[in-house]
Structures are given as structure tokens and as C-alpha cells.
Symmetry: D2
Subunit: 492 residues, 4 copies
Amino acid sequence: MNVPVLKNYTGGKWTAPENHGLLDVERPSTADVIGRVPLSTAAEAGRAIAAARAAFPEWSAVPVSRRCELLRRLADRIRDRSRELAETISRENGKSLPDAEAEVKRSLENAEVACAMPVLQQGDKLHGASPDIDGEVLRVPLGVFGMIAPFNFPLMVPFWFFPYALAAGNTCVVKPSEQVPLCMARVAEFMDTIGFPPGVFNLVHGDGRAGQALLESPDIAGISFVGTSGVGRIVAERCARTGKRFQVFGGAKNHLVAMPDAKMDDMIRNMITSCYGCAGQRCMASSAIVAVGDDVHEEVCGRFVAASREVRVADPLDPEVAGEAMVMGPVISAKAKSFILDMIRTGIDEGATLALDGRNLAVPGCERGHFLGPTVFTGVKPGMKIHRTEIFGPVVVILKADSLDEAIRIINGHEYGNGASIYTQNGYYARRFKLEAQVGMIGINVGIPAPVAQLPFGGMRASLMADTKTQGKAAVNFFTDLKIISERYWRE
Amino acid sequence: MNVPVLKNYTGGKWTAPENHGLLDVERPSTADVIGRVPLSTAAEAGRAIAAARAAFPEWSAVPVSRRCELLRRLADRIRDRSRELAETISRENGKSLPDAEAEVKRSLENAEVACAMPVLQQGDKLHGASPDIDGEVLRVPLGVFGMIAPFNFPLMVPFWFFPYALAAGNTCVVKPSEQVPLCMARVAEFMDTIGFPPGVFNLVHGDGRAGQALLESPDIAGISFVGTSGVGRIVAERCARTGKRFQVFGGAKNHLVAMPDAKMDDMIRNMITSCYGCAGQRCMASSAIVAVGDDVHEEVCGRFVAASREVRVADPLDPEVAGEAMVMGPVISAKAKSFILDMIRTGIDEGATLALDGRNLAVPGCERGHFLGPTVFTGVKPGMKIHRTEIFGPVVVILKADSLDEAIRIINGHEYGNGASIYTQNGYYARRFKLEAQVGMIGINVGIPAPVAQLPFGGMRASLMADTKTQGKAAVNFFTDLKIISERYWRE
Amino acid sequence: MNVPVLKNYTGGKWTAPENHGLLDVERPSTADVIGRVPLSTAAEAGRAIAAARAAFPEWSAVPVSRRCELLRRLADRIRDRSRELAETISRENGKSLPDAEAEVKRSLENAEVACAMPVLQQGDKLHGASPDIDGEVLRVPLGVFGMIAPFNFPLMVPFWFFPYALAAGNTCVVKPSEQVPLCMARVAEFMDTIGFPPGVFNLVHGDGRAGQALLESPDIAGISFVGTSGVGRIVAERCARTGKRFQVFGGAKNHLVAMPDAKMDDMIRNMITSCYGCAGQRCMASSAIVAVGDDVHEEVCGRFVAASREVRVADPLDPEVAGEAMVMGPVISAKAKSFILDMIRTGIDEGATLALDGRNLAVPGCERGHFLGPTVFTGVKPGMKIHRTEIFGPVVVILKADSLDEAIRIINGHEYGNGASIYTQNGYYARRFKLEAQVGMIGINVGIPAPVAQLPFGGMRASLMADTKTQGKAAVNFFTDLKIISERYWRE
Amino acid sequence: MNVPVLKNYTGGKWTAPENHGLLDVERPSTADVIGRVPLSTAAEAGRAIAAARAAFPEWSAVPVSRRCELLRRLADRIRDRSRELAETISRENGKSLPDAEAEVKRSLENAEVACAMPVLQQGDKLHGASPDIDGEVLRVPLGVFGMIAPFNFPLMVPFWFFPYALAAGNTCVVKPSEQVPLCMARVAEFMDTIGFPPGVFNLVHGDGRAGQALLESPDIAGISFVGTSGVGRIVAERCARTGKRFQVFGGAKNHLVAMPDAKMDDMIRNMITSCYGCAGQRCMASSAIVAVGDDVHEEVCGRFVAASREVRVADPLDPEVAGEAMVMGPVISAKAKSFILDMIRTGIDEGATLALDGRNLAVPGCERGHFLGPTVFTGVKPGMKIHRTEIFGPVVVILKADSLDEAIRIINGHEYGNGASIYTQNGYYARRFKLEAQVGMIGINVGIPAPVAQLPFGGMRASLMADTKTQGKAAVNFFTDLKIISERYWRE
């Protein structure tokens, strides 16, 4: 197999990496090398930023409808190539094809919402704000945005940001995760042929060093970052110090609350999808179940463990599993697997019950793959490390609460406030959960409460350090500034 | 005259200051002591924060209409006592009575806009976001907000923030400037009798120490700060580090561009008001005039200096000037005056021409007041310190530009991006200025382009470190978070 | 007792009626004459229209904030005199004091929402709509609006309309019901002293003749009408013919659906309030209960009849009942009572079971009052005349449905589509009801689903002939037109 | 040449016309027959309505995003076939290819804006509207909409309506003008293959009889009509009588005001395009010029007549003129031409000066075509029939005004209030014109002030009988109704 060597896309040109080591991109299922990605230097990142800076004045003056015409071509291209992109995602990230297809679909949705920018970007007009004076509010672009993406959604996370940024008149520099750079490299190829002016969209491959260069540059107006809360806090601080906007999406520990009146069969099926899709590496994946009351707790423990046992673990590109809706692939890397194994040991040490042990699972033909089977802890107490920590793998902890009040307290007491769901048919419980659970995204019988692209996306507390969420109208707020005008003409 | 000793208002109680020195509040016109203000300790600030934190759960659950009913009572009280408040402002800050009345009016307007919160706080609803799933977006309060105000608008700046914060369901701790604490102390008295639950509104007097306590507290969700950009940058960084929202309003150097076709008489009159109102201590005050073309430059220099000479400088509470629209009072303090005198010397040293010298001005009966007369430099070049620096006094610099392009370059090259105005009757020039001047607030023949309370307020670049401006809908964005809900019920 | 003789308020003047008969205004509880109201001629109405027309250019040019300042004074006056107004309403209409107080409160709420007009009236701005061309949308007033109100909400119905109309810059002519003209006469007195320019607000007393004059006038831009659907249809047609906007609120037959899982105690209490408040003369009053399933049907019949029996029927101004929350007064007139008695006879003739008979009820001391007791029919089938007809009195019909589907079919098959409520704790049933019941206003465990003033109000089908509902943002749509501007300036 | 015989498209099927005469579709340039169109009976229209009615419940329940996926495919198809569509338009209507291409582009834009429906259709959510009660507003479809289009924009007028209607969940029956049915027949072919459920989109060919059937049907929820104000008034009335929404776009007489400071060259060029594009048969075409002041009047008369003389009149499909931007084709029919000739005679009779006579113009090879050359009257007075009447051909009247005030009075005194433009560089005049000209669409140096699809479109007074304009957010208001929900759950 021919291993592609990726290039940066800067100022409308593909630039060969400087003379430094390339990183191997590995397929998580097999550890095969499927690409080589440059680890860009600060100077290389700087050139991309400079190209974006240079492209800004002209691009921001293009009428918004015309900008969206170009974006629409990108959307068309994504639609046409959705199968290929899904396979690339599946290959480099390890998620199942249906999950990869869902990712492409959500990416496309975001591009399409961004195409509504001529409506979304409209400002306000107040004639007669004062005697003889009219007021108006323009939504204007800010300049260059840097976007730093993680490995778990190689395509969707950049699409949370750059279509809105570009539609609004900004230019951008995108840095994908060096672990999964292939599908965005493909997107850059699309962008190259669509007609965007050079420098509007730039792609810089690399690791933290390139990211750091974005953070430090005085020519960057804002940063969209998705990663851990720990790194995120530093990103936020650095941005604040250098006068940049920031939108930092951090970690999560999403809870599922099982109420006594929940539809048990539907709930268990829904929980399994939420917990094991993408091998638990979604920021919206649930990894903590809170069962309310002894009976429910007992039933959920039994049925969830049994259902977890049935989850098919396989290479997602194995033709045998191609048609299956629920297939769990490997985690992203040996390092990630090792961290998860550590956490499982921690759970045992803390006294939780390992009700299902996903270690030592073998996927034939994928012996070098980073596979782990569904793993469930019961008897978990709030405050245990396996409850406090985002494990980011197929490890689920089950807790018991005596009441909805207690379940909500567990959620609100957690450091992260990303998502949480309740399973109930009862409107009273649902309403209280909506109003009282202090997390950004809430599901009622929806285990992965990731909002559609037309609504905002984002958590609270340590899960989102930002004033503004992304997607839909929220993304417009982030990627535009307001200019307020007071206008009068004296009598002729 | 009996000198009032101020108290903090915390958790619905007036609390005597701890055993530490009180600061004298002086009247800038006379240096008379008109009050004594406690310099609260971190512990005192902490008690206010704790009271606000404790009041949050209940207050945020009060229906928004009911919250606004209480706010409306505050608005009524402000309206009833507007004369008294204006006098207090004039006394403690030194601005003229008409200026103080305008401040009260704008404060009131903000309270009234905040009373529209039941409309403004409405979230979005998308039924059928996905098959069988409805999406909704709730705008929810965040918790406790800290508000740190400067001396130049003792009443208005707090009203930019706390009415919106409270209407949206947050609680707050307000720290007025220790130089002008009297009128907000009066507002706290109103708040005390209106029916707000204890702890919803808290007032803590003090200096930077109390401000610092707000910044550091983990129980504060966000900070609204108005001050210098230098301190502001530290505020922003501290907030980012501790996971707070922030809205930092910094310095300004607002430019007025005189075009050849401007209505000369109207323009000069308008410039005078802009430059000398509040003794040049408004963040929207203009302090740099850019005349486009030799002829205009010459005429503007001549006429502006002549008109500046006519400005009446006096104690604003002197009954003799009570009815006059344009009276200039003192600057806020001896320290401020001393800084301004330094800047004037700097301008002379830099080679600018001191066309009008406001030093050595005597106001009979106010020998201890911090008065300065209108001061104008001509022959100023971009980059001179008197052009780069926010002098915050009645000192105006006049620059020449050869074209509108050059005038815009001067504005966009400046560190601050608060406001800028153009004087022209020509729609082409006006449009270009609107679109190209990179400042947050733009005036067309409006020398003080401060938007009405129904529109957002805020600058760009070093003048505003924030994603969201204040006033109107922008304030709602800052003081609410979004909670997004995906809701489904399974078939019964 | 001195019987007041009312006058029209036209062009800022109180005008003595022309030489024609005055109509006695009777107190429904006692048939005592409490006022005399002029039945204005077309000429008198025309003078009011002319005054409104003349006032329009100047009023529409007043900045919206200033218009709202005046409105706020009206709101203050309503708040100050709310007790007096409630008593007047109770006296002329016959509703209980708590109901009258609720009416005053909702009226006030509408005035307050209208005071948000400087925010609500903002149009849109799209700079760069095309190359070099900016687009903007102004929301502008239309001219004179006519408002024709019914007897059942003497104060609230005018407040649904005129505060929004005026805030948006229109002028108006209000014609209250000649049966209940007293409280709006009081409002006109307030308006007279507040500072509105003459002609902005005009009050014309009278019956259908005056209403007709409004409909026919070419100087009226739009009509807000509340009355029967039959008359309403004519109003709509006449408006369409003469190029007027219209908003016609017609009849209603609001259903309450009782589901098996409903909270029985709460539900019955809630139903009683909905059915008998204002003696069933609210357009949001429910008068048809649909019980789903045999068991629920049986229980609801039994308990609802029993609870109906307990409803206190009395003169609402009788001091003995002053503190009671649920008191039912008389219907509006002898004619109304006679119609209701006819309908009861019809129900008996149609074969429905008269489970509770409210005829022959005597209220001591009020022998001439138009009292009727709670009346309940069971065994009612869809299509019976007592089900099809809006009886507008304390007469409730109970139907049985086998399923939620059938209940919804009954509602959707009815001519009127005003409101409908479901009693259930189950989110699945609630969601289906929300989406499938084809009525304008829906309650989930809310028997009177009249939205708060910050949300729109209005039904569907025969219950509302209009594109736009009233209250909140909907009212803004009705009372403003859009002016769209495309603006370019050629290069100088 | 093979002459196509058109069919109706009803319920997803192509239906052969009933046994009645077909109408010849003629090419205006040559009077060649280019198609045969059925004149559908009321019964045929009724079947289309029934199909649309039957399709509504299912279609309205499809999630809005999915509905827009289908629409996006239509947009793609239009984009792919834009050249073919433009040629068809040019052939059947006679307008130039650039004009036809502009029409296709605007049609496409409307489809794209409609694809933003998942954002535009979002309702409002107010949690805690009252204690324990949440309010929400759903935007719901209404049912079947009928759309009746004129000859002048065979494609664009249907696209003003049906994409929004469908995206919002309604179904529709479109009746194109029988004079220009070909391009919508092509669109129906696209719709047939895209995947819309049968009955969602229906096309019925015919004349007034088919239109009448739409008006009378009780199964139609609303009518969008574009035609003359006279017929429109009847449409409005009929709709009001039968409880339908309506949106009636009527006639126009758009004025261009030339101010003394206008850029003369740009202005004249712009006026020519406005007056003669589509042979003056655009509803946004200008046909009345008002010159302010003697000098301007004289210059405009001279230069406009000279420039009019230069306008190329030709068969728009003549390959020789293919690349030219400004070519004027024929008017639509012999009948139209005859009416215009009558009006020219009237003008002469009224005493206006025929400064340029476009009669007796011969286009070689197109002797049977309905050509007319540019025709200009000077010395026209307001009130002359040629000023009062919408001539809808290449006939321009020039009036003189002494001041902007008088120019505005002329515009506001006219029956029609569609569009009006001013030519000036002066912001003061522009602002006054914006605020004072009582027309729906205003241009500042834009001779055809037709707003882009992201902003509303529609006139005032006799030019639009409707509460709601079309395009953008306005179209959403027309094609959705509001359902308001008050939701509570009792404590468990």
C-alpha cells in the first residue's frame, strides 16, 4: 500500500514540509501506517497565519451570499464523497462505518447551516433611536480564526467552526489532530478546487507545537479548541492574555439517569449506543449511569451488563460487520488503551465491582489493534476516581441514587457539565431535570443529547470555557463582532 | 455638613465596615470631604459573594416576569429621584448637571430595557429537530456576577450590568469606584426597600483589593469590568484562568474625522460637546480630530480652538451655571490632573503645537478643585505619545490626513478601537467609514456615538476584551447561558 | 347614586354626544343602571378617525423610546388604580373580583410588553446584500387602527391592541362594548392627562353602527376585532375589500381532555376554574370535557358534577365573598341568559343527560340579576348542537373518547380551533397533543391556556381570521409594516 | 418543430387534460406556437387540491431538515439547468437572456433561503412563563397553499412562494400563467424525480377558471397571488370570506427621483436598465421619473431621451445580441401591445409631450412579434392618466418637482406603493426619502429596488394586499401559523 505523505495547505498552495521528521499515522485497528503527517514548526504555522491575515480584507468584503455560494460547493462535494470520507474516518479513527457516516452527515449539516449566513448575519436597525438619529448594528467578521481539533471527530469538529467562520467573512487556519489528519487533508483538496481565494482556508498539520503557534500569534482573532479541560484552561488563559476570543471545549462525564417509570427495553438499547459508540470516545458519550431506587438499580445493572456483553467488537472495516448498526472498534492508540487499563485497575482498587471486564479481548487478525471490550463497574460511589475522571473509552460506571434529587446532585457536583440524560415518560421528572441539571446539553430519553446543527452545541463549567457555544446562531455570535452605528444628517 | 459614612449592603443587611481605615470621598470641585467609604477586605467581599451565592437558587427560580416587576420598581424609584441622583453624581464626580442628568437617563433606560427580559430571554424551539425528537434552547442564568465600576460614570456603568444580570436570574456583587461611591449607595438604599430577596443585590465598597477578591472567587460566574486596558488585560486573564466569563471595557482614543463637505457650524458645536463634556473623562469622549485636506484642517484648527476658548469652566453646582448646557467641571482628582499636566508637557516636548493651553486656569471659590481648561494641540502626528495615550481630560489633538483612506488608517492603526465619528453629508463617505473603520461604535455626524440602551455598547481591540458587548440583546447574551435540550418520549 | 354619562374622547377632547338616545349600562348582578353611554353615529366615529388620521404623521415621527415613555406612564396609572379598575370591571361585567384583578394584571402586562417596542420594532440590516449595496428593513407604523371590543374583557381586549399600536407609531380609535364602557372611559381619562398628543388615542362609544363606520372608513389601516365568528367573517371580508389589515378573534369551544394517568384532584379543581370563571364567558373558558376511557369518564362525570355543585354563585361585589378565590357571578345580560336557557333546553331535547341543572338559581338580594348556576351535560356526542355551539355561559358538556386519537379527532373536527388542554403527566401523550391538536393555544395541565403577554395569543380556523396573532412579537407584526431599502452610493 | 403539449402534475402523476380545448403558447418575438397548455377545469383543479390535502398530514410530520434535503436537490437541479431554464423563460416571455438569467438566479436564491427553514422555523421558548408553567411557541404549517402566477416572471414568482411553503410543511398547488407555462412545467419534471412524496407539489395549468377554483376551495389554507390590483382586490375579498390567508401582489407605478447632486452618468444608465429591462414589464420596473428642480429636469429629459434612443430592441434569442447586457425584447402579447398603444394615444391627448415615440418600430425577421421601442413622455403632470396607470410596457413619463418634498408628495399621492428610488449622494436626502416615501421598497441609487431573497419583498397600499410580505423571514410568517403552549406538570 502506498502511504500518502500529507502537506500543509497555505495561501492556496500545497507546501512541502520543512526538513524535520514526519509522524506516522496509524490505523487503530491494526497499527498499520496509513499516512505520514508533517509536524509543522511555528514558522510554518506562522506562514499559514500570514496567508490568512493577508486574505482577510478582500474576503471580508465579498458579499455574504457569494461567500455562501462557495461554501455550498463544498457541501455538495462532501455530499458526493460522503462514503469515501466515512471510510477515511473509520480507517484513521477506528469508529464504525455507521458512526463515521453519522459524523459526515453532521459535518454536512453544519456546512448547510453556515450557508444560511445571509440570514443569520443580519444585524439590527432602529430608525429614530433618538431624534433624527438612526441606530444600526452590523455583524462583522473579526479576522483570522485558529481551529485546533481532537482525534475523536476528525471531520465534524473542524466543521463546527470553519464553515461559520468563513461564511461570516473571516479566514482560518485549521490544525487537525496529528493522529487523524487524513480526512481534513481530503477536505483541503476539495477547498483547493472550489474557487475560494487563496489564504481563506489554510490547513496546518502538526502537534501541540503548531497549536501553540496559533495561540501566541497576535494575528489571530480567536481560537476554537476542542480537547481536555486541562489543556483547555491554558488555551483560555493564553487567549485572554493576548486579546483573542476563545471557545474551549473540554472534557465530559455524561450521566444517564434511569427513572423507575422508564421504558426499560428502549432505555437499555439507547444506553448501549450512547456508551459504546465510537468506543466511548465521543464527548457526548455517556459513561455514568445513575439508577434511581433499588429496584431500578438492580434491573439496570443486570440488563445493562448483559446487553454490554452482546456488543460486537471488531475492525470496523471488516466486511463481515459492514452492515451492522452497533459495532465497536478500537480506541485510538496504545497510549489511550494503556490509560484506560490503568483506570480499570484504579476502579478495582477503589472498591468498585468490575461487573464486566473488557480487558484481554482479542480481535482475530487485528492483534496489534487497540481493542478493549465493554467494561462495567457497579457499586460506584460519587467521588471515586473512576467517576471523577473522563476515561474516554468503553468503561461505564453505575451508581445508585435514592431519588431524582440525589441523581441531580451527583450530576451537579461533578466537575464537568457537558451532557446528561434522563429516562422517563413523566413530564414532571423531565421538566425538573431540564431545569435543575446544570449541564449544557440535556436529553430526555435521548442518550446522546448532541443537538442538531441548527441548534447550539456546548457544555457548561469545565466542559466549555467560552461565552458562546457553537453551531447555529451561537456560532454566528462567536464568529462575528458587533459594530454599532449612530447616524444623523443635518438638515440641508 | 454631616459627612455620611457608607456601609456595605450584603445579604439584605447594612454591614458596618471592619476595623480598618475609611477613605475620604472628596468633591472634585472643592476637595471637600463629602463622605467616607470603607475599603473592604477580601473577607468582606467574600461575605457578599457568599450571600449572592446563597440567594441564587431561589432567585433564579422566580419567574422572569416577577423578577422584572421588582426591577420596574427600581426604575420608578430612579425616575422619581432622578434630580437627587444627578446632583449626587455631579457632586462626587464633578460633571455638569446636564451631563449628570443624561447619565441618570441612560441608567434608567438600561433598567427599562432589562425589564423586557421576559421577551429577550426567550429561547428557541425546534419541534421535529429529528424524527420524534424536539429540540429546545433555554436561556438560563449562570450564578453570581461581579461588577467593578470606574469613577467616570458612577451610576450608569453599574446599570449597564446589574439590571440585566438580575432580570436574567443571576445575583450580583457591585463594587463602585471608591472615588464616587455615593450614588450607588443611594441605589442600594432603594434596592433595600423594594422587595428583592436578600442577597440578590449586594454592594461592596472598596478599592482594588475588593475587586481582586471578586476576580479570585470560585463562586463568581462572571465579571463585568470597566477600567484601563492594562488592568483589564489582567482581569481577563484571571477570569480565563478561573473559568469565569468576562467583559472588560478598557481604554479609548476616539477620533473625529472632518470631511470637506461637513456642515462646519454644526460640526464644531458637536465636537466641542464630544471633547469637553465630563471634562473629557467619558470613554466615548473624543480627543483626536482628523481633518481631511489642507483647507478643512486649517479651518477646523482655527474654529475649534476659538470655540474651545468659549467653554465655560466652573463648579457644576454653582447656581450661576445651573441652566447652562455646556459647562465643564473639574477632573476627578489631583492625581488625574497631575497626569494630564504631564501629558501636556509631553506633547510640547514631542513637538506638537499647544494651540490652546488650559493650564493655570482659576475658578474663583474653587481654588482647591482639580480644574483644567480646554487644551488643544495642533500639528500632531500619529504615533506621538499624546496621540497614542488616553489622556482622559480636556486635551484634544488635531491631526491632518490627505484623504479619507488615510484618516481611516490612522484610526485602524491605533491600539484602541472604541468609537470614531465622521462628519460628512455624503452617503458614500459615510458608508465607507461604517464598513472600514475598525471600531466598535461609529458616529455619522454624531460626536459621541454611544448607542442607546436598546442597542449594544462596546468597542473593539484593546477597548473591549469580551465576546459580548453590553446593553440590549448583547447584555442578555452575556448574562445567560444556553441549555440545549433534545426531548423524545417513546410510544405508549 | 349619581349615574355617569359617558363622552367620546376625540382628538384630545371630551365630546358631548350628538342629540340621540343614550343607552343604559346595567350592572348584571342587579340590573341597576350604573351609567349611560352614547351610541355614536357614523359621523361621530368619523370625527374620531379624522382626529387619529391627523395625529398620525407627527406621532409616527416621535422616536419610539419617547412613545414608550408615555405608555409607561399609562402602565403606572393602571398599576396605581388597579383596585378601582378591577371593581369597575366587576361591577359592569359581573365577573368576580379576583377574575377582574387578573384581567387588570394581564392588561398591565400587555402595556409593559408594548413598552419593549424599541427592542421589538428593530428591523434587519444586511450590509453587502449585493456588491456595494446594503439592505435594510424598517418596521414602520401603518396609520390609524380601529379596535372593536366585546363585553367579556372590558379592559384586557383593548390592551391586547392599543398599547402595541401606539408604541409602534400608529394612532387608534377604540370602541368598547356598549355593555361595559366604564373601565375604558376611565382609561381614556388617564390617557388625557399623561401627555399623549391629541388624536393619538381616541375613544368612541357605541354599538355596531360605530363599529361599521370604522370598517368602512378609507382612513383606517387595520381593524382588531373580537366578537363572534359570524360577525367576524363579515368584518374580515369588509376589511379585505377596503384594503385594511384585520385581526378577527371569533368564537371558541375549548376542550379539556382527561387522560387516565391525570392527577385527578388537581385536574378537577383546575377544570372548575376553567369552566366557571367569569361565568364561562371567557374565550379561553373550557366548556367541553373529553374523558378518555370508561373508567376516567365515569370518575370525571361524578367528581366534576360534585365539584360544580360546590361553586359559589353570588354578586361578586357582595362583601361576604370578597376574599374567595372561586366565585361565579351573573352572565352579562337577560338576553345572554335567555340564549343559554335555550341551549340547555336544546341539550335536553338532543338527548344529552342534564347531570347538573343550574337554572332556577336564586341569589338573595339580586333577584333581577342574570344568574345561572353551574350546569353539566353528560352523555354528549360530537355533533350535538350543545357541543357545536359556543354557549358562553356556565354550561359544560362531557364527552367520552376511547383513545387519545379519538379525543384529538373530536377537537380537530370542531369548527372552532381556539384552545384545548390535556391532563396527563405523560410526556408522550403531551407531545402528541401539542403536535396534533389543531388549535391555536394548548394547555398541558393548564385549563385556561391563555399565554402570558410576552407570547402570542390567538386561535386557529374559525376562532381567528388573521395572519397574525396578538400579544408580544405577534402584535408587533400586526401593527407594523415592513419597508425594505436597497442602498448604494457611487464612488466619489 | 415539435410543439409540446403540457400536462398537469397532480398527486405525483402527469394527468392528460380533460377533453377541452388546449391553448396555444406563443413566442412573443415571433408569435410562433411553442407549446399547448390545457385550460384546466374546476374539477381538475379540485383533484390537485385533493391530492395536496391528502399529502399534507404526512408531509407536515416529516422533520423540517429532511424536507429541506429534498428542496436542496431542487436547488441543485435549478443550478444545473439554469441556462436551459433561462432560454425557456426568454423564449416564452420575450425577456433578454441576461434578464432571464437574473430571474433564474433570484429563483434559486429563494430556494436556498427556504432551505434555511430549520433555523427560520424555530419557535420561542419561555420557561417559567408563570410559576411552574413553561410557554412555547411552535411555528406550524397550515395545509394547502394555492399560488397563482403572472406572465412577467414565469419562474421567479412561483419560487417566491412554493419553496417556503413546502419547507415549512405545507403542500401546494401552483397555477402558472397560461401565457408562460413552459418553465414551470420543466420544474415540475424536476420535482417528479427528486423524491418528494406525491401530492406535496402540484401543478395545474389554466386560466382564471382554475385560479377561481383555488380561491373557492374550502381545502385551501391560503393564496399567494400576483396580478393586477383590480383582480387582486377580488382575490383578497374571496379569501377573507372563505377564511383563507392571502398575499396579493398588485400593480405598481415606481418612481425615480433625480436630485440635483446625483451622479448624472451613473444615474441615466441605471434609469435605462430600470425602465426598459423586460420591456418595462417588471413589477419593479420604473416608469415615472421625477426630476427635482428646473436644471435637473432639463438635463434628465435630454439625456434620458438620448439614452433611450440607444436601447437595442431585438428578439432576445437572436444570436447577434446574445452577449449584450441591455437588449429589449417584445411585450408579452398583441393584446398587451394594443393596450400600450392606447395609453400612448391617451398621453398625447392629455397634453403630454411625446419626446420619444417607440411605435412603428420594426424588428427584421420578427414582423409578427409584439415589439415596441422606448417611449418617453415629458411635461407630464400628476393625475394624468399616463401617470396614474400602470402601463406595463416601455413607456416612461417624466415629471418635474420643485423640491424633494414635492417629489415625495407625488409618490405618496399615487394609488400604488410598490417601489421608489432616489438618486443622490446626500445622506440627508436619502434618509428623508427612506422615512417619508410611503412605498414598500426603496432604492437609494438603485433603480430596481427589488430586495435580495434574504430580505422581504412587497409593496404597500394597492400594490400589496397582505399582512405579510414574501421572501426571507416574511415568507416564513405567511406560510406558518403559531401554536402557543402552556405546559405544567403537577408534583409527583
